[in-house]
Symmetry: none
Subunit: 149 residues, 4 copies
Amino acid sequence: MEVTRPTRKLTAMAAHEAVRAAVSRAEELGVAVNVSIVDAGGREIAFLRGDGAFLPSGQIARDKAYTAVGFGMPTGDFYRALSGKPDVLSGITGQPHVAAFPGGLPIRSDGELIGGIGVSGASAEQDDICAKAGLAAIGLVTGPEQEQG
Amino acid sequence: MEVTRPTRKLTAMAAHEAVRAAVSRAEELGVAVNVSIVDAGGREIAFLRGDGAFLPSGQIARDKAYTAVGFGMPTGDFYRALSGKPDVLSGITGQPHVAAFPGGLPIRSDGELIGGIGVSGASAEQDDICAKAGLAAIGLVTGPEQEQG
Amino acid sequence: MEVTRPTRKLTAMAAHEAVRAAVSRAEELGVAVNVSIVDAGGREIAFLRGDGAFLPSGQIARDKAYTAVGFGMPTGDFYRALSGKPDVLSGITGQPHVAAFPGGLPIRSDGELIGGIGVSGASAEQDDICAKAGLAAIGLVTGPEQEQG
Amino acid sequence: MEVTRPTRKLTAMAAHEAVRAAVSRAEELGVAVNVSIVDAGGREIAFLRGDGAFLPSGQIARDKAYTAVGFGMPTGDFYRALSGKPDVLSGITGQPHVAAFPGGLPIRSDGELIGGIGVSGASAEQDDICAKAGLAAIGLVTGPEQEQG
């Protein structure tokens, strides 16, 4: 019987760098965002609210990060993945802290799901761009495999 | 690195005068409202429930004030701003204390977002009129720039 | 069978004036306070946070107002009234929103209990002085009868 | 009537640098901490959980930051300030998110209270050292005036 399995976990300083990169990317786009990074357990490691970012969007950023790691897929894929299944979609999005709209990405390393990043405060497209910039800054990209969950 | 930035904050007595003016405007219209004013952090500075105003609308007034400062736009603009994006709209309005219907206005001074006013208890149009009357009484008007969020 | 009984209720504008008077009294004392006035049902009519007043004390002011009208006695009388009865004291103060320390006063008119005022942010003595100033400004004093609950 | 007053606010990047410095100071001490920085309204700007830091201490760090800005004094000063007043102390510490033990410091700039930093995860003394290191990294020190609340 296998008692433990090896995995990896995201470091605090990598999460710290990623939230900064996402906030800075938003500034380049002329917007302001909140960014949250959670670990594999959905617990927050780092958070940053950019200057002037919407206050209630802080929780939305956290919800996106939680949802992305929770289901192992970009939060923007929910509607697509569950299109035609309104009962399932509403059942899932009715859960506390589940955010089914763009801006959240799972974080993987060597195939292991190690966390999630959530961005909120700008348009869906801009939030997504900032989330990707956050991961790119620490060398973790969201590729095709992740897109499919 | 810039450590602090100058800004302004609303005084207690200005907030006190604004809630009175909003309640008085409602009386002129023959209705009764609750009025809340919050600071830039969404924390209440002043509250007033007019004689005969709906009891549960007190919390709604607070939510509108929080939402208006939180997103820096009139609460009535949410549906318009997010029309055609049902996933985003429901994700945002599902957050606690986010009120996406008329009666909440951001408060700005010299371009700085310094608070929000929320009115609830009458029709959407009347709530909005009272919120504007509250701000007008202290010389802070919601102009075109604010209307657009 | 008596179906209804006459009573009186505090007006919004009287509550509005009382919170202002309490905040102004604090300024004269060189301190800053939060003030809440609730009706006979313990529901808030008016609230005002003075410039620079402690943020968490807003809820404490509300709790004192609720407790004062709820038990019909000054909140500072709890320890005295229940001294020697630690079980009762802890049972009561363990209830949500019960504040058993000075700064809350019941509001009476013609013998009717019509509300409560709560002040928080300065010393117990100063909070009490401000609460009394709030009531005095609208001609409602807390006399010996009230002191005894 | 004065409608607004000038003040200052802490920037996102300064808060981001301060949480990093506090976590790094803990590592030098051989411990691990959570660090939260909130604005003048008690709303979080930045958060960082150091590698291996206690999970529930994340909320404690937030509560300390909120308490420090909420009462404008180091959280470790509560017991001292309220010694001999058990009713008041218990009334205040019973409030949600009020943390009355060391590790939280108010943040001031030019005499303005602009935020709070809270650290949790190590001993009370170590938490305090890390909070100070966080502020020192951005040139904001907690001097004698702040020590006295």
